[in-house]
Symmetry: C2
Subunit: 315 residues, 2 copies
């Protein structure tokens, strides 16, 4: 169904993945051999950096080339509402009627979360659906975001001028996952400073022979300035990935992360199941905890043991 | 040792927790019943908002009251380097010789358990050590930060003027975790606008009867302006938590988050065990994966099955 392009079947599968429904595995196993064609591009950076605008520009650019585009908007900052950002939704609306664009917002659900695993699975569905490009937009720079960045072929890190001292820290952390930097809002004061600091950091790291040096692209995304350069940089990195002698090693690396995510996700879903099987669920279990009651470490051991039992019983 | 105030023993345990060493569980189970006395205050917001300066001011204020203060500086943006912010380290140095202040920087490092879980555990160690206040400073607004915020009694969200449109998004996500807002750098243009927008959002949410309405404190933290108001707001929220009829429900909510963190942490470690149980290691397995080879879902099933077998043999 999905392979033949049924958008509705794909949408249902993606929703099931996000909700951690059992049985999505069967469909994913089936789909897996039809994946590997899409280029996955991560777009990450601090809130307010303009990631959505850049994403929007990339959609337009790839659509102009006649490519099918998937977009996964990951919004871990809103775990309660489970919803995507209203602003993004509105901005993305103009693509909503375009049959060549698939947009999916992700939030964490379920007792134990699991954003990165479900995001990877949703990327695969879009890949199997025939998307040529899959753009993954992540808000923030937590562990989940870094795991997601590792799943992408090319990760774009977006920075803006005037973020203060702490930008050093962001850069240090994101340096390792960045394949391309964007200095957005480059018409503002301080853009030169950001670019200079980035170059210093890249120089300090040094380039091993044959290693990729992330280009720095200046943009004023709201006005569409710099989008061509960004598209060029992404294409260049794609050529590097394909040509380079490390391509194989990088692919294995990506598959390794993927496998770890899948294992983690399976165990998590099993424990979620055990929690839900208790009368009163996790709230009832939690009410027994406290300095005067049970400690969470022992309770966790017990729940995991039960989950493992349930997994071996299934056999 | 830790209960009798041995700083060295506590520091070693905290390092073991951060490094994900086995066996920390035993100590934590022991400590758990001595926790629950510290007030945990989260300080979160975008990079560059001045969180460290505010943290610094709060340390001074609480030290003046003769309170023991613990500080956990969380830096998830640097998982590879494992380093904390140099700037923060320097700023915090003046407290380094004060025996009533305990400072611990957290990074994700090789920690399999995840940042939020280990942060929660470190908070507990500080609590058991007799800290009256534990300040937890988090960079960014990813899922980890939100999990950490949920572990705090009072979460302060720091905003600054001039962050652009997406501030709406940040506010929407952080609105749910914020018990107090700080508009820092309030001497800058746009401070009124930020405050006005916050009020509109708080109004839109509406206040259920008896519910806490987060106060908005204007600060110029670098000059120490507004620190008394912030301290007052934190104290007020503390009184609310103690008096309110929901206090019990909130405590259960916090314990629930804690339990989820512990489970997640143990699961991560379990996944590693599953992988290590395989001869040839994960690299060999990963090399077999791919659209033309094996799929990660089946391999994950197989590995989990093997791990379960080895577990039941051990029993």
């Amino acid at each position: 169904m999905i392979l033949s392009g049924s958008v509705r079947a794909a949408a249902r599968l993606m929703r099931d993945i996000e909700d951690g429904m059992p049985g999505t595995d069967v469909a994913l196993k089936e789909l897996y051999r039809h994946t590997g064609r899409a280029r996955v591009i991560g777009i990450t950076g601090s809130p307010g950096a303009g990631k959505s605008t850049i994403c929007d520009q990339l959609i337009k650019a790839y659509r102009n080339d006649g490519k099918k585009v998937g977009v996964v908007a990951v919004d871990p900052s809103s775990p309660y509402s489970g919803g995507a950002l209203l602003g993004d939704r509105i901005r993305m609306q103009e693509h909503a009627t375009d049959p060549g664009v698939f947009i999916r917002s992700m939030a964490t659900r379920g007792n134990l979360g699991g954003l990165s695993a479900s995001t990877c699975d949703v990327i695969k569905v879009m890949d199997a659906m025939g998307c040529d490009m899959v753009l993954v937009e992540t808000v923030g720079v937590g562990q989940d975001e870094i795991d997601i960045a590792r799943a992408a072929h090319t990760t774009i890190v977006v920075l803006i001028p005037g973020m203060g001292d702490d930008i050093q820290a962001i850069k240090a952390g994101l340096l390792e996952v960045a394949d391309c930097f964007v200095v957005n809002k480059a018409d503002r004061d301080g853009a030169d400073k950001v670019e200079r600091e980035l170059r210093v950091m890249l120089d300090m790291r040094g380039a091993r022979k044959g290693e990729w040096t992330p280009p720095i692209v200046r943009m004023v995304a709201l006005k569409g300035e710099g989008i061509d350069s960004l598209k060029g940089a992404v294409a260049q990195h794609g050529a590097f990935l394909a040509d380079d002698t490390w391509a194989g090693a990088l692919a294995v690396q990506r598959r390794k992360c993927e496998l770890v995510e899948v294992i983690r996700s399976k165990l998590r879903i099993a424990v979620d199941g055990v929690i839900d099987s208790y009368a009163g669920g996790i709230d009832a279990i939690s009410a027994e905890l406290g300095p005067g009651g049970r400690d969470p470490y022992s309770v966790a051991d017990e729940l995991i043991e039960k989950a493992i039992e349930s997994l071996s019983e299934k056999k």
